[in-house]
Amino acid sequence: MLYLNIIVAGLLTGAVYGLMALGLSVIFGVVRIVNFAHGEMMVLAMYGACLANAGLGLDPLLAVPLVTLTLFLLGYALQRGLINRYIARPDHEQFLLLLAVATMITASLLMGFGPDARNVQLGYAYDSYQIGAMLLDKVRLLAAAGAVLGAAALSGFFRFTRTGKSIRACADNQFGAQVVGLDVKRLYAVTFGLGAACVGAAGCLMLLLVDVQPYIATDYTLLAFIIVILGGLGSMPGALFGGILVGVSEALSGFLVEPSFKSAFSFGLLILVLLVRPQGLLGRA
């Protein structure tokens, strides 16, 4: 039963990981840019939720709309003002550009908040539900529910709205999209904004579960890479699936082997999948 509890806890955390990675996957799938500043944006969102909590007294869950909107606007502006100019550039130039952005985000957070870890105090932090012998943490359940809702909302946007359909058209055939008169540059900006919005929501939800400090950003970037490659870069269900897989693998290896070894298992999984099925578990060949 202990195993079941651990697996379920990993699964719920994994859903939040999945939402974060979904942002990376969407950005890569459409804009074809690997967002090396992904973890930094995540940490930025977590600090945003901290700030909303300290300044406005908002619960991180209620801060989701505000932080998500802010991150969307930031992402939109970043793509419109900067990244759009590097679309057709070689990989290493794009890498350097996003590395510069990442460095500046972390440095700004360091200047604004200092290097110490922060968190939010929640009245329900230690509440849990019991179903049979299974214990469910309330925060974890809420975070996972939020993540699934967020992913569903994004999926609905891509399926049913005009802009969403246009973005999918761009992803399938950029040239064709241009020919039929779509404003590709604007759609790229919207896409990057949406990717950032995923991270915004995921950041608020993550703050329910862990502390935040500026230097954890790189870990989140790597985590997002692992997840999207496991699931399949560019695949939306893949990102969620990969997130849950990594969440469970972390929880189990942390418990069975040693907590410091948990990311070794994630990297091991990544290496295995890249070699055996490089398009990812749910990706199209």
Partner: protein, 332 residues
């Protein structure tokens, strides 16, 4: 064009290179210990950048995990020295062999399964991080507690055991960097260099021309890894302490590749120019932020400088600089 290509350098460029070398040879006599220590950092960055440049600049395979080879070189030679008293000159050969083997294995696995581009880059990160965590739990080399070399007696240099002053390391690194420059130059002039560049520009076309793409990509990785490991040995004996979380750090992999990109990817002098610029920039920022006592200021300006360079000179400073100074270097 053909004559200048055979020469490689115009008379003016040869003179500039000679002047640069003379200055570098004399510098330790002219500056204080602090500047020498900064110059050692510059030369490390230049040499690691030159090593990485062969893989990514010449053969076009983006590796983001070169800290792996630094670490393998450093740990192999240091562990052999600490446990068996083996001279680092033999230890570094062992380290180079280990790194070349690891590099070839990673490259062979990736390219056999047709992992390329961004996926290959992420795979190199994964292997480096995986190895870092393994070394965190590798008791024989100290795990997270670190591996320490007996402290050097600075009164006299002992080049046989690589125990000595920063000035000794300065000259060793200068020789190493110069050797890497000569090697890179001669490789570019040979068949293998042309094959690498063909693969970089268009892998399918290179294959169609009958180039054994798989073999040449692995050769580039093995050579690049071995050269990086050699630098790793010097780093271990210069620093005297090794921790997996600093030696194998992702941050180190990134540091290694920034200098050659900023200097000019695939060029001969780009890594050296980039190393001078970045280390100088980093030191200035450190001093400034200590003065202003704001943590994060250094990183902020560093990021801003990277942004400025990628916005203004995306193909690197050296191509622009060599034109501005009237030096001519064959493009890539």
């Amino acid at each position: 064009m053909r004559a200048s290509r055979a020469l490689g350098l115009s008379p003016r460029a040869a003179a500039a290179l000679g002047l640069f070398l003379a200055v570098m040879l004399l510098l330790p006599f002219l500056v204080n210990a602090y500047i020498v220590s900064v110059l050692v950092v510059v030369l490390f960055a230049a040499y690691f950048g030159q090593s990485w440049n062969i893989m990514t600049g010449f053969a076009g395979q983006l590796s983001l995990g070169h800290a792996l080879y630094v670490g393998l070189g450093a740990y192999t030679s240091a562990a052999l020295f600490v446990h068996f008293g083996l001279t680092p000159w033999l230890g570094m050969i062992a380290g180079m062999a280990v790194a070349a083997l690891a590099g070839s294995a990673i490259a062979a696995l990736s390219f056999r399964f047709r992992v390329g581009g961004v996926y290959f880059a992420l795979l190199t990160i994964a292997f480096a991080e995986f190895t870092r965590i393994l070394f965190d739990h590798f008791g024989w080399v100290g795990a997270t507690e670190g591996l320490f070399l007996p402290v050097a007696n600075l009164a006299h240099d002992d080049p046989v055991r690589l125990r000595g002053s920063p000035v000794m390391f300065y000259y060793l690194l200068l020789v190493l960097s110069l050797a890497a420059l000569v090697l890179s130059h001669s490789l570019l002039d040979r068949r293998v260099g042309y094959y690498w560049q063909a693969i970089r520009e268009d892998e399918e076309a290179a294959r169609a021309l009958g180039i054994d793409v798989f073999r040449y990509k692995i050769a580039a990785m093995a050579l690049s890894a071995a050269m990086t490991a050699l630098g790793g040995t010097l780093l271990a004996f210069y620093d005297n302490n090794l921790y997996p979380d600093t030696v194998f750090a992702m941050g180190r992999s990134i540091e290694i590749i920034i200098a050659p990109i900023i200097g000019g990817l695939g060029t001969l002098f780009g890594p050296i120019v980039g190393a001078f610029l970045l280390t100088g920039l980093g030191e200035t920022m450190t001093n400034l932020s200590t003065y202003f006592e704001i943590s994060g200021l250094k990183q902020w300006f560093y990021g801003a400088a990277l942004l400025a360079i990628v916005a203004l000179q995306p193909s690197g400073l050296w191509p622009w600089l060599s034109r501005a100074l009237g030096l001519w270097e064959r493009r890539r």
